[in-house]
């Protein structure tokens, strides 16, 4: 069987990434590349076995915007929860919110659910098909607005279409 173009491309990309990883793990020592090249090759083959090349599209601008969004809002999230913890009177008003996601099935939803746990006030509790169940620290906070904003960022990064709910 002749390997297809995407398969060769995926193999090259993954080997390059693994080589960078090896370089970081060994602090760039030159005498480690003998073992390294064998390990990299083996890891690349194994990764292609476990996760065959899929045509995942990642927009570079989208990735950058997602990262900026993520860092800014996780900073907000940390400050908010620190404020809740340190202020003299405990003023939590937790609640469970359920929000129907507009992202299509797959990696996007999982990424969104995990991201939301690190963003202000939200903690993903259950992802059941389209329905995302969240624990929020402040029942009155505009949770849905925050979720929608994160959703748009994830969709933009992965090149996904948002569906009507």
């Amino acid at each position: 069987m002749k390997p297809s173009v995407p398969a060769v491309r995926a193999a090259l990309w993954r080997s390059a990434l693994l080589a960078v990883l090896w370089w970081a793990l060994t602090d760039g020592r030159a005498d480690s590349w003998g073992v390294g090249s064998v390990s990299i090759l083996a890891a690349a083959i194994l990764s292609l076995r476990l996760l065959p090349p899929v045509s995942t599209y990642i927009s570079r601008v989208g990735l950058l915007r997602f990262l900026i969004f993520f860092f800014y809002h996780s900073l907000r999230g940390g400050i908010q929860v620190a404020w809740f913890a340190l202020r003299p009177r405990l003023s939590l008003r937790p609640a469970i919110h359920e929000i129907p996601l507009r992202l299509p099935e797959g990696i996007g939803r999982v990424l969104l659910a995990n991201t939301l746990s690190l963003l202000p006030g939200t903690l993903s509790v259950e992802l059941n098909g389209r329905r995302l169940c969240m624990h929020v620290l402040d029942a009155a906070a505009p949770t849905e607005v925050e979720v929608r904003r994160a959703e748009v960022r994830v969709a933009h990064m992965l090149g996904l279409e948002l569906e009507e709910t």
């Binding site: 370089w23 970081a24 060994t26 900073l75 929860v81 620190a82 624990h135 620290l137």
Partner: protein, 103 residues
């Protein structure tokens, strides 16, 4: 002290402060869900600041990459494990604390 060292110290102290806030949250918050909020957010931010502070002192680019890798792994671990604990807690019928309840 050079400017870089001062910046590093400020980042490290900020990180420690977030860890402290996370611990206080863990002690004061009323149930497992709210405690998860404290750990997932405050401690990860604390680790992020500690990592940034140490980045400025890193001896070479390989160490920088390793630090970033450690932080990303820790982030992924916290988000995933936090989600799994919360889901399991809900499935096993642990009812979230409400503001009317006694602590």
């Amino acid at each position: 002290m050079t400017t870089i060292e001062i910046a590093s110290v400020i980042l490290l102290l900020t990180g420690a402060a977030f860890f402290f806030a996370g611990t206080v949250g863990l002690l004061r918050f009323p149930d497992v869900y709210t405690r998860l909020h404290a750990l997932a957010k405050a401690d990860n931010l604390g680790l992020g600041f500690i990592m940034l502070g140490l980045l400025l002192q890193a001896p070479g680019p390989a160490t920088v990459l390793k630090l970033v890798l450690i932080w990303l792994l820790a982030l992924a671990a916290s988000a995933t494990v936090g989600f799994l604990i919360a889901r399991r807690a809900r499935q096993n019928g642990i009812v979230p604390w409400q503001s009317g309840d006694r602590e």
